[in-house]
């Protein structure tokens, strides 16, 4: 039930479990911040496709992580929000304003590359 963070080239990929407790979120945040510094990663994809629900609590913490990453110079894309979860989030009145979103991991990595290219044109 703890999140995993993998390095893939210049990016990080975090896969979230079905549910995260407060300390799980804190662990994810600290791990991402640490790895971004260590690998000089230019961005992170956070895959929430395994998560049962995205309630207001999870959304707030996810936004916080995206904001922290951006202060360290790294872009952040959230992927894997299913249609059902997206519907529930919308009903709740939630949106992701800091983090970008993409359909899945592939799209997320592509979006990150594009973001980075925008920021640093010659980087592949």
């Amino acid at each position: 039930m703890t999140p995993r963070v993998l390095k893939q080239g210049q990016f990080l990929i975090a896969s979230l479990p079905d549910a995260l407790t407060d300390s799980g979120w804190r662990g994810l945040r600290d791990l991402l911040m640490e790895q971004v510094g260590k690998h000089r990663s230019l961005g992170a994809v956070i895959d929430v496709s395994g998560m049962e629900v995205m309630d207001s609590y999870a959304t707030r913490l996810l936004e916080g992580i995206a904001r922290m990453l951006s202060l360290r110079g790294a872009a952040c894309v959230v992927v894997g929000i299913s249609p059902g979860v997206a519907f529930a989030m919308t009903r709740l009145g939630l949106r992701l304003s800091t983090a970008d979103t993409a359909l899945d991991l592939d799209d997320g990595l592509e979006l990150l590359s594009r973001r980075v290219r925008e920021k640093r044109p010659h980087v592949r």
Binding site: A19, V53, R60, G84, F87, L92, L94
Partner: protein, 133 residues
């Protein structure tokens, strides 16, 4: 199993409550999309119990009204209660550090929603959702 009861005291209990509700709702024939709405609503209400009321109890019950089936969620706590219910039901109002969407959002996620709160006595939220015929 057509009724269930979950004590919600710690953070991990929020996940248990969610999973119990999801399990019971699934047996009643709710769509996958509705299961997510129900799980999300219960998540919001359960977190409030942990956050603001030192915990409480959530009772789940299958409903049958004619041929209509539904799920009832009763979340009861003996916490401090809510001073201004109208304010608490407004989007964006929170006395904590959070988004203030829990109560108004849960109301939008479910078909029926009632909240009753007495200062010093506690808070009870009753929510119902019906299986789409």
């Amino acid at each position: 199993m057509s009724a269930d009861r979950v004590v919600v005291r710690h953070e991990a209990d929020i996940i248990s409550a969610r999973q119990s509700a999801r399990g019971l709702a699934a047996t009643l024939g709710f769509s996958e999309s509705d299961l997510i709405l129900i799980a999300t609503a219960i998540s919001e209400v359960a977190r409030n119990m942990v956050e603001y009321a030192h915990g409480g109890e959530i009772a789940l019950r299958a409903l049958q009204e004619g041929s209509r089936r539904g799920l009832e969620i009763v979340a009861r706590d003996e916490g401090p209660g809510i001073a201004d219910l109208q304010l608490a039901m407004q989007d964006g109002y929170s006395t904590g550090h959070s988004l203030g969407l829990g109560l108004p959002g849960a109301r939008r996620l479910m078909d029926e929603f009632q909240i009753d709160s007495r200062l010093g006595a506690g808070t009870t939220v009753v929510m119902r959702k019906w299986v789409l015929g």
